[in-house]
């Protein structure tokens, strides 16, 4: 399409979209942020002025075209402006995870050679200062919140508002240059660089062009009929590609409003106040919310509890059908309407989901009960499958074809093929340009024709055309007897139990599967309280015989369900233990997006893995932990190892898909 080569209506960059929005939607809100207890808002034309002032200020500080500008902090309008201002002056924004420790930041900042860093507050300033000696290209840092920073050496440190003031003052001097740079932004110029969280090894810088972002934003906005009046709550890490697509790509394409919460702790209250119409959350958020609803319902009066149960049962039966547009009897509809009035409506209101028109979850598999619960309430929750390298979208579920076990059909413009070994490959307008300064990895991932390996194994369901993902392709292996081993498949089944937070299954190349399990402190703690079980620490609760009994029954239930799947029946869990500590990103056991790092865990807890396989009934272990302030300590524990019942099956060798 000739139109695409040029960009629709000449809109070839985010700053160009900003200009259009500032004219077309000048008085509708573009950003809101709750501060001092009030929602402060900026219209598109106000946002344009703020961004321009900052861009002029950056020119004043000497930003060159092609420079990298790192952006670190929680979701705030100022930081979104920073990214767009960076683009306006021809620089490349690089958002970083705000909870990264200093060494992680050092790697990313020196890898991209950021000359400028824009941060939220003192915490981030301190981290950058800590590593600045090793950052040869680093020159200036701009901070938003001046608190606690007054006494810092300000030779390289600038306050955000001052940079803007200086930009406004020097407008005459720099505006020509700014116009030249904004006008010069091409469709294939870099829009943003995002570092992958790195399930394996060091993070890689994914370069995404304006074409990637704008085409993807356009296609996906049209797919879900997003429009100008929509509201989103921006609360997921700014360094994550999804936030960039939702809060910048789609927001600038359709002109909807991005709302930023007051602080991480007030997210739930802010969600309720804003009541977004377009909402994204990883499964964990939905899980946590459901758990807290259930815990609170347990404490409600018997009458309320009965009403809740009665209508929820009805909703589970007919709610999803109504949502998918299937035929439902009149009486059932009346009953559902009554339920809406008495239970669903107030519940959705309390959760902040009253106005959700399109909701997405992705990143991990979501438990069918959790998924069905929200759909039963009439919330149009759907799944999508994507990754940073694809500018998010690979597949997504169209309205009316939503199921918990598939990830949907290819997104508009995306081609998909499944390789011999089951690995999923895709090609799309959103396909990334390259890994920055890493031609080798780029070549490994993307071939000459533009096909990208996802690293996930999956297959298309023949009758529906929906994609199903089984596991990471490299994690899918064989057991000693040749049976297929897909750890994630089993782990997800276990994680659907509210009492289980995290699971790591071992078994590749071995004769049986064994598992590490992390209990969910909220759910199990509540259960303990209800059953008069006293405990002083996480470790003590995790090792309590009654907790082990409960987990054992969950494992056995899971085994029964795994046994039903012909391909994967060999993955039943024979032995398990409950870990004495929560797996934590600070200890390197999880990624910052909370995915388990299988290999690292296997090495770190080698003694425990050995104990699982050598038949012993208990094991003594010492583990190093990192506290929040960076100090290290050791915890010691003796863990009990339990055997779980398995359903006997005749092992089957796997035929290639």
């Amino acid at each position: 399409m000739a139109q695409n080569a040029e960009g629709v209506e000449g809109l070839r960059s985010v700053p160009a979209l900003l200009k259009r929005n500032a004219t077309q939607f000048s008085n509708s809100p573009a950003y809101r942020e709750k501060e001092y207890g009030i929602w402060q808002s900026w219209t598109w034309s106000e946002a344009e002025k703020e961004i321009e002032a900052l861009a002029l200020g950056l020119l004043n500080l000497g930003v060159n075209e092609g420079d990298f500008i790192a952006v670190i902090g929680r979701n705030r309008p100022y930081l979104y402006w920073s990214m767009v201002a960076a683009q306006s002056v021809g620089a490349v924004p690089v958002p970083l995870y705000q909870d990264s420790v200093a060494e992680e930041m050092e790697y990313v900042l020196s890898h991209c050679g950021a000359r400028f860093v824009i941060v939220a507050d003192q915490e981030q300033v301190d981290k950058v200062i800590e590593v600045q000696e090793h950052l040869h290209q680093f020159e200036h840092m701009i901070y938003i919140d001046p608190r606690g920073l007054r006494k810092y050496d300000h030779s390289r440190l600038h306050q955000f508002s001052h940079v803007q003031d200086q930009g406004r003052a020097a407008r005459d001097e720099h505006i020509k240059e700014l116009d030249r740079r904004r006008g010069g932004l091409g469709y294939d110029d870099t829009c943003v660089m995002l570092y992958t969280s790195g399930t394996t090894g060091k993070p890689k810088g994914v370069v995404l062009s304006n074409r990637n972002i704008i085409e993807t934003a356009k296609n996906s906005s049209e797919f879900d009929h997003l429009r100008e009046g929509d509201e989103v709550l921006a609360y997921l890490p700014m360094a994550w590609v999804g936030d960039f697509i939702f809060s910048i790509g789609q927001a600038y394409w359709t002109g909807f409003c991005v709302n930023c919460p007051e602080s991480a702790d007030t997210m739930m209250t802010d969600l309720r106040e804003i009541a977004p119409s377009y909402y994204f959350a990883p499964p964990r958020v939905f899980e946590t919310q459901l758990t807290s609803i259930m815990i609170r319902m347990e404490d409600a009066s018997p009458l309320k509890r009965r009403i809740f149960q009665y209508f929820m049962n009805h909703a589970r039966e007919v709610g999803p059908k109504i949502l998918d547009g299937h035929s439902v009897g009149t009486l059932d509809r009346i009953k559902y309407a009554l339920g809406e009035f008495m239970v669903y409506g107030p519940l959705k209101n309390a959760l902040g989901f009253s106005k959700v028109r399109v909701g997405y979850t992705a990143g991990e598999a979501i438990g069918p009960e959790i998924f069905d619960f929200y759909r039963a309430l009439g919330i149009n929750l759907k799944q999508l499958y994507g990754q940073t390298e694809a500018s998010v979208f690979i597949t997504q579920q169209p309205d009316g074809e939503v199921r918990s076990d598939t990830v949907g059909v290819p997104s508009p413009g995306v081609e998909i093929k499944i390789a011999e070994n089951g690995e999923v490959f895709y090609r799309s307008p959103g396909t990334f340009v390259e890994y920055y300064k890493n031609a080798e990895s780029t070549a490994d991932t993307k071939d000459a024709e533009g096909w990208v390996a996802t690293g996930d194994a999956g297959f298309f369901e023949p009758d529906t055309g929906h994609l199903r993902i089984i596991d990471r392709a490299k994690d899918v292996g064989n057991m000693a007897d040749g049976a297929m081993f897909a750890p994630k498949y089993v782990e997800n089944k276990l994680k659907f139990f509210p009492n289980i937070l995290e699971v790591v299954v071992f078994g590749a190349g071995r004769d049986k599967c064994c598992a590490f399990i992390n209990i969910d402190l909220t759910a199990v703690g509540n259960w303990a309280e209800r059953n008069n079980i006293a405990y002083a620490s996480y470790q003590e609760l995790a090792g309590h015989p009654k907790v082990l009994d409960m987990i054992q029954s969950h494992v056995e239930d899971t085994n029964a369900s795994v046994a039903e799947d012909e391909m994967l029946s060999g993955c039943q869990i024979h032995r398990f233990l409950v870990l004495h500590k929560e797996l934590d990103a600070d200890d390197g056991e999880l990624t910052r997006t909370r995915k388990v790092r299988r290999k690292i865990i296997g090495e770190k807890f080698e003694d425990l893995v050995n104990a699982l396989y050598d038949g012993s009934t208990s094991v003594y272990t010492e583990t190093e932990v990192t506290y929040e302030d960076g100090r290290k300590g050791k915890i010691k524990a003796t863990l009990e190892i339990r055997d779980a019942k398995v359903v006997p099956v005749t092992p089957k060798a796997v035929a290639a898909e």
Partner: protein, 270 residues
């Protein structure tokens, strides 16, 4: 006698002239002498600690400063003039705010309402205007709320803004109490054992807030505290009391090496 010179702290903060001065304070309850002939000063912008073993008379001293007790003998000088005997609310109007050793909040009220009570000295509208929320009362309320929200933001308690204080854990109640005192925009802030009963992490948070308050608003702070580590880290100058007498006064280092102080803490035969 009048000293307006001030001094420079080790970390480079300029401390101003004398803000409040105790001159030969003695406080008696019947035959019991709680405070005996104590003199010291508090300078502008300084963090001043009062320490001592149990029953040394620290809280009594703080109550003298806040105007709750009138000293039996001696004078309190504030901002360069002698302070006549006053009711505590009159002292509060002069810009003295405090927190309490045993939390004294309105348990049934929300955090926001509790902190708003700290603005009481800044409300001047008549009862009629307040009842109708009209004119001056409304302007004042909006202004006061803005100030309170700044304090809430500063102490990072946004998430509990609407929560009744009774439902909060101890550490947060302490922080709310600090918020209420700060809302009064005091020129001198009195903290009575701000860290009592806290765990290490809560203590660290509270220390950071105390330093930030002093740094951001330039508020003079006088505090009583048992945790010696905290006191030595936070304060610029320390007064040490024992059995109602002053046994030491100086920088943390000077006090730490003072033989009388060591004896008082480690115990010698009296």
């Amino acid at each position: 006698m009048k000293d307006t010179e001030g001094y420079m702290t080790a970390d480079g903060r300029q401390i101003g002239g004398v803000l409040m001065e105790m001159k030969n304070i003695t406080l008696r309850f019947g035959g019991v002498v709680a405070i005996q002939d104590i003199s010291f000063d508090i300078r502008e912008g300084e963090i001043r600690a009062i320490i001592g073993p149990n029953g040394a008379g620290k809280s009594s001293m703080l109550n003298v400063i806040s105007g709750f007790y009138t000293p039996s003998e001696g004078e309190v000088w504030y901002k360069g003039s002698k302070r006549p005997p006053m009711k505590p609310f009159e002292v509060a109007r002069l810009g003295v705010a405090r927190t309490f050793q045993n939390i004294a909040l309105f348990e049934g009220m929300s955090v926001l309402d509790n902190v708003m009570t700290g603005r009481l000295t800044h409300m001047h509208a008549g009862i009629g205007a307040q009842a109708l929320w009209w004119g001056k009362a409304r302007d004042e309320e909006i202004e006061n709320r803005r100030k309170v929200e700044e304090v809430i933001d500063f102490l990072e308690i946004q998430a509990i803004r609407k929560t009744p204080v009774g439902n909060l854990p101890y550490g947060l109640k302490k922080r709310v109490e600090l918020a209420r005192a700060l809302a009064a925009e005091p020129s001198i802030l009195l903290l009575d054992e701000p860290m009592a009963g806290m765990n290490v992490e809560e203590k660290e948070d509270m220390s950071r807030f105390i330093l930030d308050v002093n740094d951001e608003f330039g508020t003079t702070i006088a505090l009583i505290e048992h945790d010696m580590g905290v006191v030595m880290d936070l304060s610029d100058r320390v007064v040490v009391m024992d059995y109602g007498k002053k046994i030491g006064d100086g920088t943390p280092d000077e006090v730490r090496n003072n033989q009388d102080v060591i004896d008082a803490y480690l115990g010698v035969a009296h």
